[in-house]
Symmetry: C2
Subunit: 401 residues, 2 copies
C-alpha cells in the first residue's frame, strides 16, 4: 500500500516548486535520485511514446513475463507522437522510489502533418546539482553500533562549514527528503585521525527508511542553502509484487488498450515512468527520436558508444558493435524502432547490458557530422515507405522539424 507525494513542475527545472496545495517535491533531488542519465521531456513538448517500452517497465515491475494471449491492437502504432501535457515528479511514500507521471495526448493526423520543433524540444539534459555527494552505505553505516562516516571531501563540499576552533567542531544539520520531511543529524568532526561523522539522528533515519548496507544516500546543498537528502536502494535481485490488485496480464493489456484508445480518439492518457525500474526510457523527445532515426546512418558492423550509469552514480561509456538491425517482435510489433539494433559489447562483463538497443540510445562512431544544428534539421520522407504509421501520415510528404 503506497501513497505518493507529488508536486507539479512544468519542465523539471524548478529549483523550489512551491505549488501550495501539495508538498514540494524537489526537482534537483528527484533527478539526483533518478540518476545522471535520466532526463524528463519538457512540459508542452512533443514526444514519442513506445508501448513496447512501457510494457517492459510493467514486466520489470511485476516480474512476470506476458503469457496470456494479448489481444491485438492493430490500430496501435509501435510509436505514438504525443503532446506532453503534464509531467509531475513523485516519490513512493513507502520506498522513496522516484517516478514521474506524464499525461500524453496522441497528435491528430492534421497535427502531425506539419510539425515544427522548437529548439527547446531537443530535450535539455537533466541538470545535475553541483554540490552533492552519493555514498553507498557500509555495514558500519547501517549498524546500530555507530553513526554514519562522511567522506571528507563530501563533507567539505556539501555540508555547511564547521567552526574548527571548537573542540570538537560540531553542528546540527537539517535535511529534507523527497517528501519534504525534515531529518536532523548531529554532524561532528572528531576521532584520531579526525573524520566527519553523523551521529545523533542517523539511526532513526536508517530504520525509518529501512536502509541496509549497499543502499546509497545522496546529500545535496542547493542554491537556497537547503540541505536535501535522498536515497537510492541497491538493485536487490528480488521479485516484486504481482500487486494483488490486478493481474500482470491485465496490466499489460490495460497499458496497450489505454494507449490504443487514446490514439484512436486523440484523447489524453496517463503513464508512470519509473527511471530505476524501467530498462529504458520509453517517452523520448520527438527531436531526439527524429535525429536518431532519420539523421543517423547505421549499419551492421558499425562501432558505437553508449552511456551507462556506474554504481557510484556517475557515467561511463561502453563500446560495442552493431550486429544486426531488425524488429524485436516482428509479429506483434512489426516495423518498430524500439530496440531495433542488435549489438555486441566489447567487455566480457557485458552480460548485464541489453543485447538490443534503440537508435537514440547509442552514439555511432562515424566520420560524418553526427549532430547538425537542430535549427537546420529537416526531414525528408519521415517514415520509410511501407512502414505503418499514423492515419493521415502514411506516405505523406515532408515533415518540418
Amino acid at each position: 500500500m503506497r501513497l505518493s507525494s507529488s508536486s507539479t513542475s512544468s519542465a523539471g527545472f524548478n529549483p523550489q516548486p512551491e505549488e501550495g496545495e501539495k508538498k514540494c517535491l524537489n526537482s534537483e533531488l528527484w533527478h539526483a535520485c533518478a540518476g545522471p542519465l535520466v532526463s524528463l521531456p519538457q512540459f508542452g513538448s512533443r514526444v514519442v511514446y513506445f508501448p513496447q517500452g512501457h510494457s517492459e517497465q510493467v514486466t520489470a515491475s511485476t516480474n512476470k513475463e506476458v503469457d496470456a494471449t494479448i489481444p491485438n491492437y492493430p490500430g496501435l502504432s509501435p510509436q505514438l507522437i504525443c503532446q506532453l501535457h503534464n509531467v509531475t515528479m513523485h516519490a513512493d511514500v513507502e520506498t522513496d522510489e522516484v517516478y514521474a507521471q506524464m499525461t500524453l495526448q496522441p497528435l491528430s493526423p492534421e497535427e502531425q502533418k506539419d510539425i515544427c520543433l522548437l529548439p527547446a524540444e531537443l530535450g535539455t539534459p537533466s541538470k545535475q546539482p553541483t554540490n552533492y555527494f552519493c555514498k553507498t552505505l557500509t555495514a558500519s553505516d547501517t549498524s546500530t553500533h555507530g553513526g554514519f562516516s562522511v567522506p571528507r571531501r563530501a563533507a567539505e563540499k556539501v555540508f555547511p562549514p564547521l567552526d574548527y576552533s571548537q573542540t570538537p567542531p560540531c553542528q546540527e544539520l537539517i535535511a529534507k527528503d523527497l517528501h519534504g520531511n525534515e531529518w536532523k543529524f548531529r554532524h561532528i568532526f572528531r576521532g584520531q585521525p579526525k573524520r566527519h561523522l553523523l551521529t545523533t539522528g542517523w539511526s532513526v533515519f536508517v530504520s525509518a527508511k529501512r536502509l541496509v548496507a549497499g543502499d546509497s544516500v545522496i546529500f545535496i546543498w542547493n542554491e537556497n542553502n537547503q540541505l536535501l537528502l535522498g536515497i537510492r536502494r541497491a538493485n536487490r535481485p528480488q521479485a516484486v509484487m504481482p500487486s494483488s490488485v490486478l493481474s500482470s496480464d491485465s496490466m499489460q493489456i490495460g497499458l496497450l488498450a489505454a494507449a490504443a484508445h487514446a490514439a484512436a480518439t486523440n484523447s489524453r492518457f496517463t503513464i508512470f515512468y519509473n527511471p530505476r525500474a524501467s530498462p529504458s526510457e520509453f517517452v523520448i523527445p520527438l527531436a531526439k527520436y527524429a535525429k536518431a532515426v532519420y539523421h543517423t546512418r547505421v549499419s551492421v558492423g558499425m562501432r558505437f558508444r553508449m552511456l551507462f550509469e556506474t554504481e557510484e552514480s556517475s557515467v561511463r561509456r561502453y563500446m560495442g558493435t552493431i550486429t544486426g538491425i531488425g524488429d524485436l517482435d516482428p509479429v506483434r510489433w512489426p516495423n518498430s524502432h524500439w530496440r531495433s539494433v542488435k549489438v555486441g559489447w566489447d567487455e566480457s562483463t557485458a552480460g548485464e547490458r541489453q543485447p538490443r538497443v534503440s537508435l537514440w540510445e547509442i552514439e555511432p562512431l562515424t566520420t560524418f557530422p553526427m549532430y547538425p544544428s537542430p535549427f537546420s534539421l529537416r526531414l525528408k520522407r519521415p517514415w520509410p515507405s511501407g512502414l505503418p504509421s499514423f492515419p493521415g501520415l502514411k506516405d505523406s510528404g515532408d515533415m518540418n522539424l
Copy 2:
C-alpha cells in the same frame, strides 16, 4: 514491492494442502483472515463474473475514481458466465493481506445453451474453523513495554493445556503464519489475578508484522494439532498506492479489456479477488446468481435482511427496505444486476453501509418459500426479454439447473 506466497488448492477446503513446490498456504487460516462471510467458488464450477464489481475493487485499491474516458466495450456483458479453472489462495508477503487468484473462462454460446448445475455449484459456505479466536490488539499488546494478554476463554479453547501444577504454568507455543513461517512464543499463566500471557517472542512478531493497536490477530488450533497464526489489519482510512507502476485509469481499462477479449475469444483470463479490499464479491457461483435473479421476487418497499461482519469477526444481520430497483450505471452498464437494488437501512449508523446492493446479497422477507431444493430449480426464460445477454442465449429457451 511485494511477493506472494501461494498454494494451489482445488476448492478451498484442503486442510493441509502440501503441494510440494510452493510453501503451503493454509486454507483454514486464509478463510479466517478473509472473514466469516467470504467464500470462494468451487474449482471447476460455473460462476458469474461482474466487471463492475472488479472495477470497484480496483477503485478501492488505488483509491482513485475513474476519471478518464474509458473506452466502451460494447461486446462486454455486465455479467459473464464463466468456467472457473483455478482458484488459488495467496497472501501478500509484505502485509499478509489475503487474496485469491482465479482463472476464468467465459462460456461459449453453445456451452451456455444447456447449463446443468451440479449441487456442489451452489457454493458451500466457507468452513470456519472451530477452535480459533480473534483478538483486536490493545495499546498494551503492541507496546514494547509488555507482552500479549490472551483472553482466558481463548487460551483455554485454542492453546494446548498447561500443567497448572507448576508455578507458574508455562509452555512454548509454535505457530505458523500464512507463509508457513514459524513463530515461537512463551505462553505463561501468572499475575494476580491470574491471566494468560504471551511474553518472549511476542514483540518480535509485532515488529516484524508491523502491527499496531487496532489490528487483530487470529489463532487457530486445527485438527492436525497445528497452531496457526494470522493477522487482520484495521481498516486504516488511508489512501493506498497509485502503484507507481500503472495509472489507475490504465488498470481500469485493462480489467475491462482483458475480460472483453476473453469473452470474445472464449479464452481464459486471470483476476485477483481481495476480500478485505473489495466492497463486494464479484465472482458469484452461477447457482447462487440464478436463484437470486430468477427465483426471488423483489419489489420496492419490500423488507430484507443482509449479513455483515462485525468488528469482532463475527456476523450480524442488518435490516432494511428496498427503495428502488434499477441500473447503477444506465449508460455504461445498462441492464446489469450489479447493485441493482437501492436500499435504505434501518439503523441510523447506516452511513457505512452501501446504498445499493445486489440481489444475491440480500434475503428478502417474504411469505414464499425462499430456497426450494436446488435439485428442483428450473429456470424459465432466464433473461428478461430485451436484456442484452450472451450471444446465442438471447431469448433462448430453458436453462436447466
